[in-house]
């Protein structure tokens, strides 16, 4: 929107790629600390003050390891998938209003960017499938198939809850949705059922307990991640953290008013809200065991999808 230099700074530094990566690593630290404290442990402690630099250290270590590409894999997909998963998640965040420059708009905004974000998120899962499948490893194959199967569970409620929010806000642009919540009530209060359904679907999209089925460590070694090592693994893990940031900020934008509070749009407000949502997701992660794939799908089709349908019907009448 402004001069090319400003756009470059926005895209790459603040609130662009560098900032996003930084915040998502901090979010990983919060996740690990909360998970550990729920289990009476300490979590990361020694690297940096209270272990806050631990995710950075892990990322750097993985980047420094040898990058092996086995002979028998499908080379193109194997090498491209980690890059694409990271890229798609990053682009998704560009459309979330972060309040970076105090104006409540995202880096890119247009009518319909909400649907684009959801589609990009699903595309990452498709590339997850491709990565596991191209590695030609039995465990990778089972993991990727499970990841694809899981889409049939969480994708539908996510889109239905999106429809409920869009009906209420009468706009398809994420920045406008967060602005509208400032004038009226937060959607959390108007659509609590949708909030709940979205939160559970997000747990499945992020492949976290209770839905970490594609990556179930005790069953299939590491699922679709099995054959990845070195820099590719670093990119995959970073993509996982960026996705966590993407979905936390999506929840914040849709239901918690985005970066707005008391008439102000501020990045600090945005970060505080994201941290609260991340803590909530971590607590859910500590609270449950892992579902089996058929049980997970039955939960979605029997409970979550009807709940989100009810939400849409309610929002048709209550404006």
């Amino acid at each position: 929107m402004l001069s090319p230099l400003m756009t470059l700074i926005e895209v790459f530094i603040y609130p662009g790629v560098l900032f996003i990566v930084f915040i998502s690593l901090i979010l990983e630290w919060i996740d690990r600390k909360v998970y550990a404290r729920a289990q009476n442990r300490i979590g990361p402690y020694y690297v940096g003050p209270h272990g806050i630099l631990q995710p950075f250290a892990d990322l750097l270590k993985l980047l420094a390891k040898e990058d092996i590409t086995p002979d028998h894999v499908e080379k193109l997909e194997y090498v491209l998938s980690p890059i694409l998963i990271l890229y798609l998640s990053l682009v998704g965040i560009f459309m979330i209003p972060t309040g970076a420059w105090g104006d409540g708009y995202s880096i890119i905004y247009f009518e319909g960017d909400y649907l684009l974000v959801l589609t990009l998120a699903t595309l990452t899962t498709v590339f997850i499938f491709l990565s596991g499948w191209s590695s030609l490893n039995r465990f990778g194959a089972v993991g990727s198939l499970r990841a694809l199967l899981l889409i049939a569970g969480y994708e539908i409620p996510l889109f239905i809850c999106a429809a409920a929010v869009i009906l209420d806000a009468q706009t398809l642009c994420l920045s406008k949705i967060s602005m509208i919540q400032e004038e009226r009530l937060w959607f959390l209060i108007k659509q609590p059922i949708g909030f709940l359904a979205s939160l559970i679907s997000i747990q499945a999209e992020l492949e976290r307990i209770p839905f970490d089925i594609p990556e179930a460590e005790t069953e299939i070694v590491a699922g679709w991640l099995t054959e990845f090592t070195g820099r590719k693994l670093a990119l995959m893990r970073l993509a996982g953290d960026v996705k966590l940031l993407l979905f936390s900020s999506l929840v914040v934008t849709l239901y918690l008013g985005g970066p707005w509070f008391m008439g102000q749009a501020n990045i600090v407000i945005f970060l505080v809200k994201i941290i609260i949502v991340a803590i909530l997701i971590s607590i859910i992660r500590a609270l449950f065991a892992r579902f089996r794939i058929d049980q997970a799908l039955s939960i979605f089709w029997r409970y979550i999808i009807p709940l989100s349908l009810i939400q849409v019907i309610i929002s048709l009448f209550v404006r």
């Binding site: 729920a38 039995r138 970490d212 069953e219 089996r292």
Partner: protein
């Protein structure tokens, strides 16, 4: 892979297994069609080594067959040697032996509960149960000087006596553990997710359990009422009152509940033993040379019936010691449970028999057709294996 099924190997290194064992599963989508176990990765030659050490050194050798059920192994071995020697152990020592045995059982079952939770992806419960298990280990350290591998049983009694301080500490910790175990029992009964992962999973019918020779909680979870402590009492169990826990549901949930209830029963047994303990010595001196003879001794280890056979020839070294551990008896049962199961249930089913592979590996080849028992040298085994794989590859 020349069949239409995908074959998934689990082990010998796999995050689901705590010890090396190899299963090869033939799968069709998510369903397991066939399973072939392969044992022997933890074989250490302990039985042969026992023939070159005297009876007292062997106590410490057999203690290290398994770190988790080490009290059961030493109790069984020591009782066997005492039977051969024909000596009477002072009753106070028998009670102390039972106390350590039951403490060992509590610690083993708490460890197992954590492992089961971990296999289900429920790391929080895993951390909680292992936190409580630390208390048991501290208690054992107070009593014997070490947390694992206690060196407490001796031929002719036990090593240390307990005093009031230890007894009070024990009662405090046991009260706390009782509350915690009741809480875990409530979680397992009420949490829908745990029930979804264990109810109707790994079903072993009562007839199959008896036919395949399952022992311990694996059999008691299928309605088979057997417990060596009641049926063939050893140590002080003929004077202690306790219940044998049997569940009829035949699935992994039943096996879980059997073990949780056994923790509560063990706590009761220890308190009973503390109150009934007679005074007296804790040790009698025994001769080093053991008279000729053969003896079989059984105990109820945390995983089931543990059997020791000792043959002595009148010297201070045994002629032959044979150990039959409960996990070996449960392997055919687990193979039966694994067929027609989902891949996602494999860790839970394997964990539900509480596998202790370190205990299990003693290899002898039995040729059922020729009716012979023989052992092969490693060179012959290698040549045989190469020939076998060459033929198999030609089939494909």
């Amino acid at each position: 892979m020349c069949s239409e099924y995908i074959e998934i190997p689990v082990g010998p290194q796999h995050p689901a297994l705590k010890e090396p064992i190899r299963f090869v599963f033939k799968i069709d989508g998510e369903l397991v069609v066939d399973v072939k176990p392969r044992l022997g990765y933890a074989h250490r030659g302990i039985e042969k080594l026992a023939e070159s050490k005297n009876y007292i050194q062997n106590i410490y050798l057999f203690e290290r067959v398994c770190g988790i059920c080490s009290a059961a192994h030493t109790t069984c071995y020591v009782e066997a040697v005492e039977k051969l020697l024909g000596i009477e152990v002072p009753p106070r020592a028998l009670f102390l032996r039972s106390i350590i045995h039951e403490l060992n059982r509590i610690h083993s079952h708490l460890l197992w509960l954590g492992i089961l939770a971990h296999e289900m992806g429920f790391d929080t419960l895993f951390m909680y149960t292992w936190r409580d298990r630390e208390l048991v280990l501290d208690l054992i350290e107070l009593m014997t000087g070490n947390r694992v591998l206690y060196a407490y049983n001796l031929i002719g009694g036990v090593r240390y006596d307990i005093n009031f301080q230890i007894e009070n500490q024990m009662r405090k910790v046991l009260d706390y553990l009782r509350e915690r175990t009741k809480y875990y029992k409530r979680i397992i009964e009420e949490d829908k997710l745990i029930r979804a992962r264990t109810v109707d999973i790994g079903v072993l019918k009562k007839s199959d359990a008896i036919l395949l020779g399952a022992v311990g909680p694996t059999a008691r979870g299928s309605g088979v009422d057997m417990d060596i402590r009641r049926d063939d009492p050893y140590a002080a169990y003929n004077e202690l009152s306790f219940n044998v826990v049997v569940y009829k549901e035949e699935d992994a949930y039943a096996k879980t509940m059997v073990r949780v209830d056994e923790i509560l029963e063990s706590i009761n047994i220890i308190e009973d033993a503390l109150s009934k303990m007679p005074n007296g010595a804790v040790y009698v001196k025994t001769p080093l040379k053991v008279p000729e003879g053969e003896v079989v001794s059984r105990v109820e280890a945390p995983r089931g019936e543990l059997l020791y056979y000792i043959k002595s020839n009148g010297t201070e070294r045994p002629e032959r010691v044979k150990v039959r551990t409960p996990t070996l008896a449960n392997i055919p049962a687990v193979c039966k449970m694994l067929s027609q199961a989902y891949i996602a249930d494999i860790p839970v089913i394997v964990a539900s028999i509480d596998p202790c592979i370190a205990c299990m590996d003693r290899i002898t080849f039995v040729d059922v057709r020729k009716g012979k028992v023989y052992t092969i040298s490693s060179r012959e085994l290698r040549e045989y294996a190469i020939k076998w794989y060459k033929e198999r590859r030609r089939e494909c």
